[in-house]
């Protein structure tokens, strides 16, 4: 079985309040911030590994995990991070973020799917820079594949023919079974200790969160292949449908007052804020 996992590099999400807007308001700059794999995409890599492992943390996969990205040459670094976790190889399609929209990303992935013929595509539910949450659903439609978005739990049968997915939705959880090939988008809870059950590595729980790369993993990753392609190689239509024409800083809330006692708080809420 082959799983394609998409990965976008993003400016360190824990310092998203430090991104800057250029003077003319046409660009966001993240100078000084570290580039990281989009957290949800890292969860996607973790999910793919858990689906294919023949034992918890065994490192032996019952198939191949391919990490694909669109970005500048430097993204090889984040691809290597994913390869160090245990993915088999990478594909880097060169492209600039500001010349892409979700549909171009989805079209690019569709071309890669045509080329690679995976049984499953796993994507993070959203990139935490653009926060759009669109590409996986678009890809599923372009491919004519079923989608299971916002997956918090995935169970696959031993023969890897389908996935039973618990989707995190408003008001609770929706359970769906999708036959492969399919597109999954993963949510936070997929990396809890029991987020993936592949019915082979059953009975033992994973550690919370995406796995750390071992030293051996990092060494091995250096030798793993990364194919480099262009959007033209893939014949992707690059017409932007959605343009972000300017950026602004949202109005910040200002810090209020620190009160000494709970009594004072209640009095303020009642008399000043008038919310009690």
């Amino acid at each position: 079985m082959k799983i394609l996992v998409t990965m976008k590099r993003v400016a360190d999400p824990d310092n998203a309040n430090k991104v800057k807007i250029s003077g003319d308001g046409t660009q966001v700059t993240s100078e000084g911030l570290e580039w990281k794999p989009n957290p949800f995409d890292e969860y996607g890599v973790e999910a793919a590994l858990r689906i294919l492992e023949d034992g918890v943390g065994s490192g032996k996969l019952r198939g191949e995990v391919v990490v694909v990205t669109i970005g500048p040459e430097e993204v090889t670094q984040q691809i290597r991070q994913c390869l160090a976790m245990g993915a088999d190889r990478g594909i880097l399609v060169s492209g600039d973020d500001d010349k892409l929209d979700a549909m171009i990303v989805a079209r690019t992935m569709a071309k890669l799917v045509e080329k690679e013929q995976p049984d499953l595509v796993i994507m993070g539910k959203q990139a935490v820079d653009g926060d759009s949450n669109q590409a996986s659903q678009m890809l599923a439609e372009i491919l004519g594949w079923p989608q299971a978005t916002f997956a918090g739990h995935v169970e696959v049968p031993e023969d890897l023919s389908s996935a039973t997915v618990t989707r995190e939705v408003d008001g609770g959880a929706a359970k769906v079974k999708v036959a492969f090939p399919a597109v999954l988008s993963v949510d936070l809870r997929i990396v809890t200790p029991t987020g993936v059950n592949n019915n082979v590595a059953a009975g033992k729980d994973y550690q919370e969160g995406p796995r750390y790369a071992s030293l051996r993993g990092i060494m091995k990753a250096k030798k793993k292949p990364i194919d480099k392609l262009t959007l033209d190689d893939l014949g992707v239509d690059r017409t932007l449908q959605v343009r972000t024409v300017s950026f602004t800083q949202p109005a910040a809330r200002s810090a209020g007052v620190i009160l000494e006692t709970v009594q004072e708080l209640v009095q303020k809420l009642q008399d000043e804020a008038k919310v009690l």
Partner: protein, 325 residues
């Protein structure tokens, strides 16, 4: 002139307030581009919601009713919405940024070759185009977006638009629902597990009391619940509290969880990570209770109390009871 189609949000048999907020947004769009707005609702049987939908001032209310539509399977909903959009020559399709809206509308956009903007918080009209403002980078940047396709698809953030109220009676049309497409053979709906809560919906509540890792245990979350119940509010949580198992993930407030904007928000025992703040910073009044005076949450709160929550919360409940008398 363009027309706007609103996809109604219905949950537990109820037309959600988010739908009313979407109507307000649609009215704004119509004021810019002319035309009128209509509403489409999809479900197994919408006879119970028809009246509420007809009271939203729409030119028309379309009801798509067929077995299984309550399950909101994107592959099933998409061709139905597409048909209504094409038949009615709608230019803008908009839904609240609910989990269903987020799941279905991108699929619709790809199907129709239409551009899409997610979680729109503002719309203006400039140089003959609708300009949408949407938060990015966990709400630290606002992007202004223009869509260049004949049909524009949007989800909007309901907390940023007043809920429309009206007593009109729009004409209601039951549409012919197209047959389920073949792809439905590859997706099976197995069930819905409801996150049980007797409290108001987090997204609609006037008061939200949220707890973080500072609560230390699932049992201690009762302190949060007590305050919420006293004020008729909803309970929220940070990702850390959810990950620690104190509360179900449906109650997570933040960038990738629920976006809330109540009149009164209590942030208790939480530091104010920017991912959390992204989900609550539009609240009218924010109160923070944290024993660490350096906690970033105090930077966004109107009132802060530096205190041990295990002492402050019970005290707060007692004080509020006193003044309520």
């Amino acid at each position: 002139m363009g027309n706007v189609l609103i996809i109604a949000q219905i949950q537990d048999g109820e037309v959600k307030k988010a739908t009313n907020s979407t109507v307000t947004f649609a009215s704004e769009v119509v004021s810019h581009i002319g035309g009128a707005y209509s509403i489409l609702a999809l479900g197994d049987d919408l006879s119970g919601q028809s009246e509420a939908l007809a009271a939203l001032g729409a030119q028309k209310v379309f009801l798509a009713q067929a077995d299984g539509l309550d399950n909101a399977i994107a592959e099933r909903w998409t061709p139905i919405i597409e048909k209504v959009v094409v038949d009615g020559a709608f230019q803008v399709v908009v839904s609240p940024a609910s989990s269903t809206g987020k799941d279905v509308l991108p699929r619709l956009a790809a199907r129709m070759g239409a551009g899409m903007a997610s979680e729109v918080v503002e719309v203006v009209f400039s140089d003959g185009k609708l300009n949408y403002t949407r938060p990015m980078y966990a709400g630290n940047v606002n992007g202004t977006v223009i869509i260049d396709t004949p049909v524009e698809i949007l989800t909007i953030r309901p907390t940023e638009f007043e809920a429309f109220s009206s007593t009109g009676a729009s004409p209601v049309e039951k549409i012919d629902v197209p047959q389920a497409p073949e792809i439905l053979g590859k997706i099976e709906f197995l069930g819905f597990e409801k996150a049980e809560s007797t409290r108001p919906d987090l997204a609609e509540a006037g008061v939200v009391v949220s707890g973080g890792r500072g609560l230390k245990s699932e049992e201690n979350f009762k302190l949060i619940e007590d305050l919420a119940d006293l004020l008729g509010g909803a309970v929220g949580a940070t990702r850390a509290a959810v990950d620690a198992g104190y509360i179900h993930n449906d109650f997570q407030v933040g960038q990738t969880g629920k976006i809330v904007a109540p009149d009164l928000y209590f942030a208790v025992g939480l530091s104010g990570a920017l991912q959390h703040v992204a989900g609550m910073k539009s609240s009218k009044v924010i109160v923070a209770i944290n024993k660490d005076e350096e906690a970033p949450i105090f930077q966004v709160s109107d009132y802060g109390v530096v205190a041990d929550l295990f002492k402050a919360l019970p005290e707060l409940v007692e004080e509020i009871k006193k003044v309520a008398k």
